[in-house]
């Protein structure tokens, strides 16, 4: 009954041809990724061949290259550390603030609007420039710390907003009931609100991690060596002015896309919650 009930009649044949269309769209969605993977398994010769080879002897040599040259060692670890710390600090600061804004109605709303707007409206460039200059000033260029600070700064409004929306769904009555029973505010927070908000916090954490992992513009501006460079920056390094190391590029990109891909497949539910603006569940 619910099936396509709002769809116009002219789409009815689409509904019947629904599977066909969805298959075509899925193919479009997935083909580039599969092509990337195939490309990463080709030797340089096969890769540059005209016409493009469909059947080839796969080689894992470029993945081994990535492992051997310490690609994994530094860049992957950097990305991981930065993402974890960013998520940690964002959740804590944003969590406390988000809860507060959810409960503080009279002044919370205006501030919330400001937060939402600032995340969506602020171009990364506008923050990158002063971040870079201030990093130079405080001697933080090419450190993971500078990235963590930048990411927390840039993502905090959004994280706070997400958490506030989750806190909104926890009825005040539950907290009030606990407090009438004699619990202090802090106790209520820790023992009642926190457990109830865990799914929301988890969702926000995943989103935050992804934002940090996928980030490029701050990373490329604030870092200059494997000491602090993150994976996306390292991968972009294969595109040089003298030429492009296609095979290594393909292999390293596959590695880079693995975490987001896994999150996308298995944690889809949680990520989607970050898209939908609050009111729709």
């Amino acid at each position: 009954m619910k099936s396509a009930i709002g769809a116009p009649k002219s789409l009815r044949f689409l509904v019947m041809g629904r599977y066909l269309l969805l298959t075509i769209l899925s193919a479009i969605s997935v083909f580039p990724i599969i092509w990337l993977f195939l490309s990463s398994m080709k030797t340089q010769v096969d890769l540059l061949a005209r016409p493009p080879v469909l059947f080839f002897k796969p080689t894992a040599q470029y993945y081994i290259y990535c492992l051997e040259t310490g690609f994994f060692g530094s860049y992957f670890v950097n990305s991981l550390i930065v993402a974890l710390f960013t998520t940690f600090f964002s959740i804590i600061i944003g969590g406390l603030g988000g809860y507060s804004l959810a409960r503080l109605r009279f002044c919370g709303d205006k501030f919330m609007a400001f937060l939402i707007l600032s995340f969506r409206m602020l171009p990364a460039v506008t923050l990158v420039i002063p971040m870079y200059l201030l990093a130079r000033k405080f001697g933080l260029v090419n450190t993971k710390l500078s990235l963590i600070i930048a990411y927390v700064a840039f993502n905090l409004p959004f994280v706070t907003w997400m958490i506030r929306n989750y806190m909104d769904t926890i009825p005040v009555e539950v907290e009030e009931a606990a407090m009438t029973d004699g619990a202090s505010r802090i106790y209520t927070l820790m023992r009642i609100t926190l457990p109830l908000s865990l799914p929301g916090l988890f969702s926000t954490a995943i989103f935050c991690f992804l934002l940090s992992w996928n980030e490029f513009i701050f990373a490329t501006s604030l870092t200059s060596s494997p000491k602090a460079q993150t994976f996306p920056v390292a991968v972009s390094g294969f595109i040089g002015c003298r030429g492009i190391a296609w095979s290594a590029l393909a292999a390293s990109t596959c590695i880079m896309l693995l975490p987001p891909l896994l999150f996308g497949i298995f944690a889809q539910r949680y990520i989607i919650r970050g898209f939908v603006p609050g009111a729709i569940k």
Partner: protein, 304 residues
């Protein structure tokens, strides 16, 4: 008696004001790592400073950097390009996203798998997306130029032709972000109650009429929000352009962000770059104000 009251009083202070106290870390952090750098940059935009030539020092020049920006040819091209990208990408994504949402709406076998597969592009690292399309589109190893050449066209790099490069950038954004649109529209569709539809059905309305006069108006608010969000996002596009074309050929795909980054990190004209970055911010703010009014967007949906 007095002592008990005194203890109660201190408890009440912390308790009563805990909400404000919880807000403090957020405010402190935002002020120090968000507002302070922005303020610093704003002041800088009023100066002429080149970090490549620090011995020249910072010179306060008022708004001359902004005036220079308005007279700048390259910046103007970047703005035009960015508006083209934004307009084309958002409008196509919207139609496509609504279409996909309609396709996925309802219960049918395999729906979950389709949804997951169609969802994937949006979570991928933009740099990665740029790379995987670069692999498909550029002449060296690209599949698409080869296919086109087989179809009779001259074999050209899709990324070396000004018009085609623009189209490719737009196409990549559509590929990547349509899932964002359809997920939200789908959620919106699923939250609709059945009554209006049942009533219309009983009244003999055709499917198309139902779609046009009931479905669309009901999901319109959310669609407007999506349009607003996407416009603000596409306008700031950077990663994919940087990877795929670097702004080229020439400045065919130069966006406002890539141009400003170039001014800052290639030409080191700090004050000017700051000014540009704030002009971009101003344009986005202006656009969202206009769109909010025009589309009647509600920022906060207060569920009380």
């Amino acid at each position: 008696m007095k002592r008990v009251t005194a203890i109660k009083k201190t408890e009440n202070f912390a308790e009563k004001h805990i909400l404000i106290i919880l807000l403090v870390p957020l405010l402190v952090t935002l002020c120090s790592v968000l507002l302070y750098p922005l303020g610093y940059s704003l002041v800088l935009s009023l100066c002429k400073w080149s970090i490549a030539r620090p011995f020249l020092g910072k010179k306060f020049v008022g708004i001359s950097q902004y005036i220079k920006a308005f007279k700048s040819g390259p910046f103007f091209i970047a703005i035009v390009n960015t508006f083209i990208f934004t307009g084309a990408a958002v409008s196509i994504q919207l139609v496509l996203g609504i279409g996909i949402a309609l396709l996925l709406h309802g219960d049918f076998r395999g729906r979950g798998i389709f949804q997951t597969v169609l969802f994937i592009p949006v979570v991928l690292t933009p740099v990665g997306v740029g790379i995987l399309w670069k692999i498909l589109l550029s002449t060296d190893i690209g599949l698409f130029p080869y296919i086109l050449s087989r179809m009779g066209f001259r074999e050209i790099s899709l990324l070396s032709n000004p018009l085609l490069a623009k189209l490719c950038i737009i196409m990549v954004d559509i590929w990547t972000e349509t899932p964002f649109v359809f997920i939200i529209v789908l959620a919106s569709l699923e939250s609709l109650s059945l009554e209006p539809f049942e009533a219309a059905h009983i009244d003999g309305a055709s499917r198309w009429q139902i779609f046009r006069y009931i479905t669309l108006p009901l999901i319109k608010p959310l669609i407007m929000v999506v349009v607003l969000i996407r416009v603000m996002d596409v306008f700031r596009i950077f990663d994919t352009i940087y990877i795929m074309t670097g702004g080229g050929p020439g400045s065919a795909t130069e966006s406002v962000s890539t141009h400003t980054m170039r001014v800052m990190f290639q030409w080191f004209r700090t004050g000017y770059a700051s000014a540009l970055s704030f002009i971009i911010l101003a344009i986005i703010v202006a656009m969202s104000l206009v769109l909010t009014k025009a589309l009647r967007v509600e920022y906060l949906q207060v569920k009380r």
